[in-house]
Amino acid sequence: MSEKDVSKAEAEEIRIGVYVCHCGLNIAGSVDCAEVAEFASTLPHVVLAKDLRYTCSDQGQEIIKQDIKEHRLNRVVVASCSPRLHEPTFRKVCEEAGLNKYLFEMANIREHCSWVHLYNRKAATEKAKDLVKMAVMRAALLQPAVESEVPIRPEALVIGGGVAGIQAALDLADTGYHVYLVEKEPSIGGRMAQIDKTFPTMDCSICILAPKMSDVGHHPNITLLTYSEILDVKGYIGNFKVKVLKKPRYVTSDCTACGECAKVCPMIAPNEFDVGLAIRHAIYTPFAQAVPSTYVIDRELCLNKEGVIVCDKCTKACERQAINFEMKPEEIELEVGTIIVAIGADVFDPSIIPQYGYGRYPNVITSLEFERLINAGGPSGGKLLRPSDMQIPKTVAFVQCVGSRSEKTGKPYCSNVCCMNTIKDALLIKEHWPETQIYVFYVDIRAFGKGFEDLYRRARKEGVIFIRGLPAEIVEDKQTRDLWLIGENTLQKKLYRIRVGMVILSVGLEPRKETDLIQRLLTLSRSKDGFFMEAHPKLRPVDAATGGIFFAGCAESPKDIKDSVTQASAAAARAGILMAKGKVTVEALTPIWIPEKCQACGLCVKVCPYNAIKLDKERKKIEIIEAACAGCGTCGAECPFGALVMRHFTDEQIIAQIDAATEVDADKKIIAFCCNWCSYAGADFAGVSRIQYPENVRIIRTMCSGRVAPKFVERAFARGAAAVLVSGCHLGDCHYINANYQTKKRVERLWKKMEKAGLNKERLQLVWVSAAEGEKFAAKIREMQPIVESVTPEEIEKAKEVFQKALEL
């Protein structure tokens, strides 16, 4: 043998080192670690096995490093705590000793063993051996991998020009990145531009917002695209290609906003900005401080239809000749590295609650209409006028939680700003018209923020009357147009009937209607309430699950201005980190395509939650976009031809674990597949909480439950397993957007198959477990115990027969 051949043979010889950790007494207290290490040394490819007191300590790490060098180890297995805790630590140890980090494997004998089987040392030790065996068999098949790098374009797109989008754009632009700010309305500003004063400081809203708006307009690093819509988004983190439709304003930037045109325009309509309380012309600017200040022509309203110029009044009135009916819609293509979604929130339409009479009784208004009425620049010049008779009301009632905290309206969540907004409004009324009698009907007053309680106290001191219990009904006096509020005071358990001159419904916030579109274009997830869902509620609160995309403001959940701005700066910083680095590494968990096996059926394309696979039907090809792939493995589980090899979670590796777990006493065991993010973490949490459950379960970790191919389940049964458990994140909470719907579909298919073959389908269980539901996981294992115990040898044999084919893989 030449020297070269020897080194090659050696390189191919698999040399595994196994380290069984005592974790002080955390593991050693209920598992005989020395016995487990002893057992490990008898396993194939294992060249050394040690038990260490604290493997993660510096000394422990040193021992591993030395062994790797001295014993030429090319795989390392540590049996200790959860990989969710220390996998990164030990991977680093391997790398420092010159071993590729993908050649490291962990057996979780603490959270999944010693802690959940505190009182049966023998059974716990046996289980630990099994877990180590599974890890060793998998380790033997691990392959080194290089993580690929994706460049990040140092330009950002901000969608939505409310206060959140404005702040995010300014922060990024000030850092030095070029930003495109896309706003669908003719002006930026969002809701904050509509409101009069802001709680808790009672600042004038537009006064503090307008300077920021004009900064956006003038910033050399910001390209402002107003009156524009996102048409399409392609690409992935670092390299998004975005198509934007810039609608024609029919007024060029020569416009000086003198307003002469609007004076002569014969056409009028309600101004949306004023919630329809004031009129605008066909040529208009939504409000005086609009940015850009350039006027816009509403062609739906304008007398000039496509191709025919009937009216030239504005054209004639405009000295600057800024009006141009020839303008066409423009499609603009942007290339950006990061995207911040700041599309804000709509307000609830209370006319769906008929008892409150909104839309029928003129003097019932919403809190948003109130903002326009109390605003000195608004339609009534700052006077709170009753729409019925243009008189200032002597008594006013606020009704809280309209479209919030109610299952009936489909809005069970709290809208966060309405309580404080009402208190602010009440104080504003008191300021202008101190004699006004004000009632606030509420469920709870939530004055949780800085300075909020003070404001609440002030309102009470000024004589605002707070009554607990929302009115059941509002009835109008036909003559005076006054309103009767009828309901129960739940503190005094007394009925009330109160007459007021005006009712203000404190309406909740709800997702913008554009949320659907943006969700689809950017492949985002949403929470139950319909707002966008963050990657992690505590630790990644502004990141989307999809790489390179961030949230700011009310798009993510209802919040006040301060929180919107805080979040916007956070989102800008997060996007900035990516762009400053200039690249991201993609974990080597992406699929490898085997062209010879692929039939170009396109099934993988359909199940990928990230649109990371493209099908070229003609050339019988697929293309995997690594940067977009999140590594869930759903495609690998779907491909009927084995044409996709999931790196680090290959079929062979998973099957090796199944086989190792079913080698002895398979008929007494549950093979469980748990997804990394929820159910595996849930099982970890059961351990942390020391929740005890039967020892017979063997957990195999996949990144997503979507990776669990039916053949894995079949293989477990074919190897004689008593039961199989598939578990993942709750539907709608999947870490990979919606991949677990594939899991559900596949398990349902397997149930049908089992039923048809005369097998007890109870032997296959499916459960959704969140990372916090340790008890739910444990309960499921307990619940499965009688199923395992009652399985007869005949049933085991029958399943082996039915799924025999699964052994061929």
């Binding site: 014969p266 009129i279 007398l303 339609p379």
Partner: protein, 92 residues
């Protein structure tokens, strides 16, 4: 659901489109129908009547819709129609 616009604007009385008084010189009309076709507010329609030139001149269908853009005057090749602004009354 986005904000619903349903009220009559508070300043609707103050800012009304101008109101027009339409004068049709029936016998000058040659029946080309341009005014009817091009009126952006659909104020005019063809009448049954036959004029001196043997054609159907236009008639006013709904004067209250006229906003005095005077395009009818502009397009009429035979100067058969003109509009003057008048004080608005009643409904608008």
């Amino acid at each position: 659901m986005p904000v619903r616009i349903w009220r009559k604007p508070l300043d609707a009385e103050k800012a009304k489109p101008p109101c027009g008084e339409i004068h049709i010189l029936k016998d000058l009309c040659k029946g080309c129908g341009y005014c009817i076709e091009f009126c952006p507010r659909d104020v005019l329609e063809k009448s049954e009547e036959i004029n001196k030139r043997g054609v159907h001149p236009p008639r006013v269908a709904d004067e209250s819709r006229c906003v005095v853009c005077s395009f009818c005057t502009a397009v009429c090749p035979d100067f058969a129609i003109f509009v003057i602004e008048k004080p608005c009354e009643g409904g608008r």
